[in-house]
Amino acid sequence: MNPSTFTDAALDGLLRASAPEPVADAGFVARTMVAVDLAARSLPAIRRPAPVAPIVIARALVAERRRHDAQARLWRWAIAGVIVGMLLLVAAVALSPGGMTFRIAELPQWYALWPALAAGALWYAWQEFQAA
């Protein structure tokens, strides 16, 4: 076979020149955009959170207020209990026939209180956790 006289550039030019004519639109874009609209509509809508009704907001605020009031009441009763206890202690000591004698207990004797303090702290933390 004789070697071809075609140069690379000539063949490239020939191939480019043989490219088909551009395809006319002929309604293609319009039909495609109808298909695009249909496809866009068939997509599942993005789930947005439902708008919250004012009455629901009001109920939530009332419930929050009640929780707050209950906690404040609990604190007031606790503080009142401590004060009353202290007063009773002072009164009992003052009225005792043998007079007042103060004696600080030895350190090991306080150890017995620690489980009670720990239990109280845990109970209080649990209440706070539930309220949150």
Binding site: L11, L15, P20
Partner: protein
């Protein structure tokens, strides 16, 4: 050209924000090349090619935000079109094997090189003499005006493999279209 690309980037940005008119402009700008590509892939079945082109643009609209912009939009669209075609014919990828076509299809008749209208027909017939992957390499590089790198990306081939297919295709085409060479015309 630069202003076209700027304008196209503007349409793309607006289409990404949901502007369908901007997307319609992109479709108008790219429809011809995508339809030509699919007509080649479907062996000239214009109706099927148009259906696949429409699906290509619908897919492009639905996944417009996935387009990262590290390639030209045309390259991305051609890639979607090819994928859509392969899904249609239920093939996972293009055939990569070297396949010589039948001898009779390679027979390009003699012609008058001055007949310009005959060029397209003769090149078409010569392209039929190539293997499918060679034909697609030629079509994507010369008819769709993609760079070698872009054509490789569209066809899912390594760049070296694409160039190898192109070289083999050109050797064959040089033989088949020898009558169109400038030397023959003189």
């Amino acid at each position: 050209m630069a202003s076209d690309e700027t304008e196209s980037a503007d349409w793309l940005a607006r289409a990404r924000e949901g502007d369908r008119h901007a997307f319609a402009r992109l479709v108008r700008a790219h429809q011809s090349r995508v339809r030509l590509q699919l007509r080649r892939l479907t062996q000239g079945d214009a109706a099927l090619a148009d259906d696949l082109a429409q699906e290509t643009f619908v897919q492009a609209w639905l996944h417009l935000n996935d387009f990262r912009g590290d390639a030209r939009l045309a390259t991305w669209l051609h890639r979607i079109a090819l994928t859509r075609f392969l899904q249609h014919v239920r093939r996972p990828r293009l055939p990569l094997e070297w396949r010589e076509p039948e001898a009779e299809t390679a027979n390009v008749p003699a012609h008058d090189p001055r007949a310009v209208e005959g060029l397209g027909r003769d090149v078409d017939r010569a392209l039929q003499a190539l293997s499918e992957i060679q034909r697609l390499a030629v079509v994507h590089c010369f008819h769709l005006d993609l760079t070698h790198a872009e054509a490789a990306q569209v066809l899912g081939l390594p760049l070296g493999t694409l160039k190898s297919h192109l070289d083999r295709a050109k050797i064959r085409l040089r033989e088949l279209l020898d009558a169109w060479s400038p030397e023959s015309a003189t």
